[in-house]
Symmetry: C2
């Protein structure tokens, strides 16, 4: 079942439980199933799916995950609390729901900070230990693997180290396989984590795990500090999603373990999928992937400085801490007004143009880029628009598939509360004047449809193209809707995806520009000859 040789090290993912606490994330059951599949593909050992019984969504997730997913690498984990004070573990409905989930592994959360026992649980320190002991023993007697999360462990250790350690020892003796020390409030630094993990390990003999929150910006380093100190179980979330600042980010943690420590913690070949998996999960939770995320961000291996660009031509390894392909990412040269000639030449090469010999041409391209970026365009995020610009300079004139005479978009809110969106375009293509009108669910959609309606007869290739992402950015944040608007459009044709940019004082006009470039590039990609 497991691709890993032994149970020596646990990569434990809690994206679906703790990660879902992030502001802005709301997961459906379908979302959770999709993410679980991605995490299993990636090769984590454990996927904590939620708190069965706490809400119908999590209960349904466990039922469906067991039925629908054939896990190749991961074991499914249910999360829940120790029994309530004064109730037998076998009589506590919350504990029963954990067993009913059918998950082979159960993570119990327990209080290990004396003040939390008093103020949040409202019970005695002795009863809390009994709750730990009896709940662990009960679940073990039912044949489940049990991990125990010590909530607020590090703060609790500072307040009352003897009691905090007693909770760890109690869980360990009752049969918990791993006891996880949680920096729930996220206030720790690596040196503190290191010292506490070493002491607890020596004093209790329990197998220890680490759960770090990122409130000091050190969650990755704290996780690694715990591993250095002897922890053999790391709890992380994809892209560091989690409450407040977030949790320890799974990706830099496993990348450090594999690439810096030389420790195999994932199945063979998994690391090369990391960038793809990170972006796919961001897509499911509907957050834009962080462009600056270590290892997997689109900027993580992007070089901008002119100084570096010329040296990178000599030896890329001198300027990168790892080969980006090891994590499924790629090196990129950024086209920007800081970029000198060397960057433009490298970028041209990336696109298949050898500009090396023509100094005047490279100079013209640098100038055009500077001038357009000053107006608000960004070619860093719009490779297709850059290639059109570059081709225009190389070929001496734009390669045009159609000419726009004018267009119009109307949005109307009617007294009955419905909306009408209508667009008309007037175009010339193949010497023919085309007037087309279409409706859409918004003005940009109506324009997009009108353009297709008008052109599809002449360019049937347009039928395979689809807008897959649409981003609007206001460039000067100080005057609301009076600012310059930049639109980035991503278009796909089943073979690949490309990005184009439009800029204007007007969201519709900026969108039109980006659409215009998107279809021009799509037709170019498709090998169509211009027939304007």
């Amino acid at each position: 079942m497991k691709d890993l040789p032994d149970d020596g090290f646990h990569v434990f993912d809690t994206t679906l439980r703790d990660g879902a606490q992030r502001e802005g994330i709301n997961l459906t059951v379908a979302d959770k199933l999709t993410i679980a599949r991605h995490l299993d593909d990636f090769g984590v050992g454990f996927i904590e799916g939620g708190w069965p019984g706490a809400n119908p969504r999590d209960t349904e997730f466990f039922a469906r995950a067991r039925a629908e997913i054939d896990f190749r690498n991961a074991q499914l984990v249910a999360f829940g609390a120790t029994r309530k004070a004064g109730v037998r573990a076998e009589d506590d409905p919350q504990v029963k729901a954990l067993l009913d989930s059918g998950a082979p592994v159960i993570t119990l959360v327990a209080k290990s900070h004396d003040r939390h026992v008093d103020l949040a649980l409202r019970t005695t320190l002795e009863e809390n230990l009994a709750m730990v002991r009896e709940t662990v023993a009960h679940l073990r007697s039912q044949g489940r693997r049990v991990f125990l999360d010590c909530e607020h462990f590090f703060d609790g250790y500072r307040a009352n180290p003897a009691y905090a350690k007693q909770v760890v020892a109690t869980a360990h003796e009752a049969g918990a396989e791993v006891v996880i020390l949680c920096d729930t409030n996220g206030g720790m630094l690596p040196g503190q984590i290191d010292a506490v993990v070493r002491t607890v390990l020596a004093d209790t003999g329990a197998r220890l795990g680490i759960h770090a929150q990122d409130d000091t910006g050190c969650a990755v380093a704290n996780t690694l500090a715990a591993v250095d100190a002897g922890a053999t179980h790391v709890q992380c979330t994809a892209n560091g999603y989690g409450e407040r600042v977030g949790n320890a980010n799974l990706f830099p943690v496993v990348a450090a373990l594999e690439l810096k420590y030389g420790r195999r913690v994932l199945p063979e070949g998994a690391l090369e999928e990391m960038t793809r998996i990170s972006h796919a999960i961001a897509e499911v939770v509907n957050l834009t992937p962080s462009t600056h995320q270590p290892y997997v961000g689109v900027s993580a291996f992007a070089h901008k400085a002119g100084l570096h660009a010329s040296a990178i031509k000599v030896d890329p390894d001198l300027y990168q801490h790892i080969d980006p392909e090891r994590v499924g990412n790629t090196m990129r040269m950024l086209v920007s007004d800081m970029a000198g000639r060397a960057s433009i030449e490298l970028k041209g090469k990336e696109l298949g143009f050898d500009l090396g010999g023509d100094r005047a041409l490279v100079g013209r391209i640098v100038e055009r880029v500077k001038e357009r970026e000053l107006a608000g365009y960004t070619y860093e995020a719009a490779d297709a628009s850059f290639e059109l610009l570059l081709r225009q300079e190389v070929e001496g004139r734009p390669r045009r598939y159609f000419r726009v005479e004018s267009w119009r978009a109307i949005v109307e809110d009617r007294p009955d509360g419905t909306h009408a969106n209508e667009a008309t375009v007037k175009l010339w293509a193949k010497g023919e004047r085309i007037v087309a009108t279409a409706e859409g669910n918004g003005p940009v959609n109506a324009l997009d449809r009108a353009l297709r309606v008008g052109l599809e007869r002449i360019y049937p290739q347009l039928a395979t193209m689809e807008l897959v992402d649409y981003k609007v950015r206001i460039l000067e944040g100080k005057h609301g809707t009076e600012s310059t608007t930049r639109v980035l459009v991503s278009t796909a044709d089943g073979q690949g995806e490309w990005s184009t940019v439009g800029v204007g004082g007007n969201v519709i006009a900026a969108s039109w520009q980006a659409l215009d470039d998107a279809y021009a590039y799509g037709l170019l990609r498709a090998g169509v000859d211009p027939q304007e």
Copy 2:
């Protein structure tokens, strides 16, 4: 001049030089001057402003900064390279430009990795040492303080520790006040940094600084590890801006030093300005402030989990690693469909409503929030829309200032390349039917103006309100412009700012909803009675 007692510890900011390498940042001279003022207000000791002579913008920055800014805390630093191989330092125009900048402090960058000397500088190891020695000595003889950045130090140390240390010793002996060990490729982990800094300190006796890049996600921890090992100079950037993944983030570094180490590194009272300064700098560089940034993100002290919400009512300190007010941030309770009754009650209290006594009312609000969030609304980022919803439930009916009969927006691209944007609104207010038409630089702007033109006679308070931010988010990224659109609008009235949300299949209709809420809330804030 300096508020700090001595020169014992350097907080060195390089946002304007290294931070500007971040993908997506393009700073004008005016931007740089504004950021320099913010950094000086915050109280950093050194502001690296750029590379005078390398481009006209940086040269102009130094001239204007000296003339226009009366620094209270910081010294201005010019960045440049050691002299070219085979040229005398006093004859090198690049070195001369550093002196001409008038900056009292100069940071020189030097190679300390033998392979970079060979491949990038194309000179000998001996000549590189002479370049360091002579350039430092020349600048010192001209009365400048000199810091020396050892580029690629940690990789260089791994390849050839003796040579890397020789560069440090050479700079130190020639009069460089601080030698900064740079993890230029960002591949290090805290343990490695700690070991190397300790050894270099012991072997050279030089005063050491640290410059960490965040490629492993450990830049903050790496910076602190260097301090633990004896470095007394930290190079950071505001919000961690920088090439690739970014640089060590100034804010969590100084917060850790002040709040966790108890070390005074900023003037009295500066830390409480941290959140404001972080957001102000993001505004200038035109990047949305990271919501999940440690200490200063709007989510950094936001609590979502129902579990926590009930306990936070007892004692907030149990659930926060620091009091958010110490860094100028605030605790927030998030309204979301994961929130239970306790969160809604706390949020109500935050807004001045005591909902504690009315279980049915709280239940109704929880239901409305769930239902609206399912449709794509988000109240986490739109407090004003939430307050309108809450008031509607508390007061039994919406407080309406006007009723919309219909509206229409037209965008037209004319054959001459200009655009016309026109909007008409039909409204009822104070028993009167109002028809108003206005033009704008875009359809939303035209609608905004038409609404104001129509209503300003009845509600003159609208004149003080202004849209200050406008964000569009596509909720389902899979179908381009056919997706659901969410618009967030921020509006200000000179006293404060509030955020509202609109959702629809249509960017214009969603914007209209957000505008409608924005003005309703603005009039409510202004104490106006509804006169529909």
